[in-house]
Symmetry: C2
Amino acid sequence: MAVVRLLVLGMVRLKGRTHGYAVHQELVAWHVETWTRVKPGSIYHALKQLTKEEKLNEVGREPSEEGPGRTLYELTEAGEAEFIQLLESALGSFDLEELGTGVAFMECLPRRRVIEILKDQHRRAMTTRNGLEAMAPKFAHVRDAPHTSDLLSLWSGSLAANASWTRSLIQRLESGAYRMSEG
Amino acid sequence: MAVVRLLVLGMVRLKGRTHGYAVHQELVAWHVETWTRVKPGSIYHALKQLTKEEKLNEVGREPSEEGPGRTLYELTEAGEAEFIQLLESALGSFDLEELGTGVAFMECLPRRRVIEILKDQHRRAMTTRNGLEAMAPKFAHVRDAPHTSDLLSLWSGSLAANASWTRSLIQRLESGAYRMSEG
DNA sequence: GTATATGTAGTCAAGTTTGAATAGTGATCA
DNA sequence: TGATCACTATTCAAACTTGACTACATATAC
């Protein structure tokens, strides 16, 4: 998923120069496991893959006083671009794990940009929800699609709850809450 | 994910003897893409993997009038057991994709069993939600965990919405809605 | 002093997902 | 007729996830 890439890029960006284990520790400190599951193996894979794509540079190994040596990574310019792109796309998603990850890093974007993306996300969520509500009556009598109306209302309710949360976040941002990036 | 395995097992169970393309077609007819994404590649992989685990049997190939030949599969006894287990676990999950998949097949279980599982799921969802609410004040002032209270309220709201939907489904089931499995 | 637990740092194999590619069969149309 | 399009049916490589394992270092208990 894009979630792991965003988390890893974001952490390396935040720390400037770091290693896989530290990324994992920091994610645990952030309690990311409450909104998404990120296993150590995925972190190490992402580090290698992003290095292969030249979004990260491997900048040598560092000995450690409390265990084996560590492999250090740094963000490249391409990595910075990738980070921004993944971040914007995460804030525009209405998948909870992606959205949550985007929110965790939203202060890396300028306030007005975040508001813009969230408003667009809210609009699309409502459009999708209306679409679901509209298709409900059409499938009420289709035998081969089981429990379609229940499933539609499950998704519709979830979208509505998330949209309501997004609305309140937009309000907090518009009233000046949080320290955001300049520029 | 367990979602694909459940969908594939369920479809093969429903059709008695079928092939990958038909499974895909039926999932499209069910509008499964509104609540989860299932690519053809995942279906074919699941068929092969489940066959390797003897949850399915490959029972030969069938020529087709409108294209290449098809590989046919059937459910084994172990497959039936696996289906029931995945189904019960899906109905007990509060991951939307899993829960949705469980609901699509819930009529394969007896009414009282489904109610029992859903009540347990609802109870656990509420417990989780209370846990989230309880941890919110503790992390309000922790600088290194960004936007934790926003993220907690996002999840909390989502859990509440799903729990409310589950409650209403339980009510419909208790008042005798839907044709369910005997036994 | 040595087993044993705990924390640090990472690798690996197996399973899974994804998007693109392959290949057969009619239907349309110039 | 033969070019091209759409539908049928599947395979494949690459990326990604997962759980189990390796290996180093320190503390602690016996």
